[in-house]
Amino acid sequence: MTVALPVSADPAALTETPKDRGRWQRLPAKAKVGTVLLGLFVLTAIIGPFVTPYDPSFQNPNPALSLQPPSAAHLLGTTQSGQDVLSQLLVGIRLTLELAVIVGVVATALSVLVGVTAAFLGGFWDDLLSLLSNVFLVIPALPLLILLLGYLPQRGQTATILVLSLLGWPWGARVIRAQTLAIRNRDFVAAAKETGEGSWRIITFEIMPNEVSLIAASFVNTVLYAIGASVALAFIGLADLSSWSLGTMLYWAQSQQALQLGAWWWFVPPGLAVALIGTGLVLLNTGIDELGNPRLRDASRTSKIGGRRLHPADPTPVLQAAPPPRRSLAGLLHAFSRDSLLEERGVGSAPAARQPGRRPAAPQPGRER
């Protein structure tokens, strides 16, 4: 007796699992907060310079206006030479972010290039490039940056970008190389090679799409590094001191003894801005991490059962109807009367639609259990 073979009618698949939680909803909370934070700063960077109340470089000769705390006229106070701190901040955010993003793009591009090339070529080139990456990774960046910038004839934005990009690619290159190696050995790449796809096509269409999140994480990290390094360099004085970036603001604040003079409004806003941008980036990165490795996600909901937080070595909790001996976990669970709650969730005794007659405890005549 032959039977037609239709597509198996799986009732479970027919009940639509709700995908109403859009892609934004499903991101971990950390990533959302980070994105919002960063979004705010990017917005400020874009429109900031257009809405500055004053010209940031304008030095007001009036001594009464020097080092004034925040007031209605100057929302963030003034500097030693009467300049408006808020205006400087608005311009500074753009400059700093601009620089960091450009460095991020250039350095990430470099690291992708180096990483993929090393993984793909293998052999001597791989060894060489890996050695180079590792060497520049282990040599401390800031002293070298100081040296390079110190010797360059001009220390402006371009020079800084150049120098930062030069030292910003090794970390990403290492990570991308490792990932590319792993992917390269996978079957679908071998299949592509068999069908005669050229190497560049394989790289672009087979390998790269799998590394997008890695490249994104690498970019975020590089931007973080660029901000930190550029601010540190400016703070030492290795920047175009006539331009207004967050780092140069801090430099001037420090050199004019803002701290000792109690002018907190001069150095707190730029520093806070750097810290918040950095936090946003770190949160975003952690969020991306958690997306890839769900284990790291905030487990405050899942590790709590029966009102009690469980740690890994706790025995599996038991839900019981009958009162168990004292001091046991089951007793605590019973005390919170979770039965009704569980029934709502469809666990325990069955609601009407499912499995009628399911009472396993009662022995029935003639039926084996």
């Binding site: 950390k30 907060v33 890996s130 050695l131 590792n134 060497v135 990774l137 282990v138 040599i139 401390p140 960046a141 800031l142 002293p143 070298l144 100081i146 040296l147 390079l148 110190g150 010797y151 360059l152 004839p153 973080l224 930190g228 540190a232 703070f235 030492i236 004085g237 801090l250 420090q254 701290l259 000792q260 109690g262 907190w264 150095f267 707190v268 520093g271 806070l272 750097v274 810290a275 918040l276 950095g278 936090t279 980036l281 770190v282 949160l283 952690t286 991490d289 490795n293 284990r295 790291l296 905030d298 487990a299 405050s300 909901r301 899942t302 590790s303 937080r309 740690h311 890994p312 070595a313």
Partner: protein, 328 residues
């Protein structure tokens, strides 16, 4: 080749690269830039002028190769030349005065931060979902704060508003450095705030890292096997989970050393702490190139050495590392 020999060779290569880069940077300057630099030091004493010229490769007889060898020779004999801005001090003397300060401060603070951070990370990883996890975003903020900015804030709060700790310096003015209690006490007192700053900013990083590694490690089968064996919780947490989680954590420590040092150096500026950071600032402001280069070399070598030590610790702790073939 045993792991540790490979690592040693690698660090030697890195050191050589640092030396060579250091040698070539001044010579890679466009011609006019060299003149520019030389012209910044109009009243140079002959000895200092010679140092500068040797550094920049001008007016010195001999091929590049000879210069290179001479340079290497000098480095190995700790002869960095005569300082140009603090003439007639020798560069090596200046370095010798400042390195111990930085080393003690940064070294101690970093180790304290690492130990405490890792410990907290173990707890946070084991009690995943507990209150420590809720503190995480706050800690991330501290991780993102530049060292020196936090230093400024802390000085503002603890030294100016409340006169709890000194404003800066390495020790109270007027004291003569030496091995006596008055000086040491003052030095320790003055190092409290800088050390505190370093600890606060870096502890978050170590804790986060250890927490993540712990969570991944706890998910491994051998930790479950440890529980299944009926071992005490302490044994499972420490010998089965934490000991394994420590290995990637230590590797991360090695990688992070460069950043730690960089951050600490800049922070010293804020505190006017008499360490290598302050020296670097002075060198930069006065365009003191011999000093800048010497500082770069010293910092680099220290970091490389520290990395080697960390590698030794890893080899000691991880039985697999002793036979591992592939480079990290």
């Amino acid at each position: 080749m045993p792991f540790i020999i490979r690592r040693l060779v690698f660090y030697l290569v890195a050191a050589w690269v640092a030396l060579t880069v250091n040698f070539f940077i001044p010579r890679a300057m466009p011609g006019s830039a060299v003149q520019n630099i030389l012209s910044k030091f109009p009243q140079l004493q002959p000895a200092a002028a010679k140092t500068l010229e040797a550094l920049l490769g001008v007016g010195h007889p001999g091929s590049i190769w000879h210069q290179y060898l001479a340079y290497l020779n000098n480095v190995f004999h700790f002869n960095f030349g005569i300082d140009v801005s603090q003439y007639p001090a020798r560069v090596s003397t200046l370095l010798g005065e400042t390195i111990p300060w930085t080393l003690t401060l940064v070294g101690t603070a970093t180790i304290i931060a690492f130990v405490i951070g890792t410990g907290l990370g173990i707890v946070a990883g084991w009690r995943h979902g507990g209150w420590l996890d809720r503190v995480l975003p706050g800690l991330m903020f501290f991780q993102a704060v530049p060292y020196f900015f936090l230093a400024l804030i802390l000085i503002e709060l603890l030294a100016i508003t409340v006169h709890l700790l000194p404003l800066g310096q390495g020790y109270a003015g007027g004291l003569i450095p030496g091995w006596h209690w008055g000086f040491i006490g003052s030095a320790v007192y003055h190092s409290l705030l800088p050390a505190f700053t370093i600890v606060i900013t870096s502890i978050a990083g170590w804790m986060l890292q250890m927490r993540n590694v712990m969570i991944t490690t706890i998910g491994e089968d051998y930790v479950l096997a440890g529980q299944a064996k009926g071992l005490s919780n302490r044994r499972v947490v420490f010998t089965y989970a934490a000991r394994n989680a420590l290995l990637p954590q230590l590797q991360g420590f090695g990688l992070a050393l460069g950043f730690v040092v960089s951050g600490a150096i800049v922070m010293e500026i804020v505190f006017s702490y008499p360490g290598i950071g302050l020296l670097l600032l002075n060198a930069v402001t006065s365009n003191d190139y011999p000093l800048m280069q010497a500082i770069f070399l010293v910092i680099t070598f220290t970091v490389l050495l520290a990395n080697l030590i960390v590698d030794l610790v890893i080899v000691f702790a991880d039985p697999r590392a002793r036979t591992r073939e592939a480079a990290r």
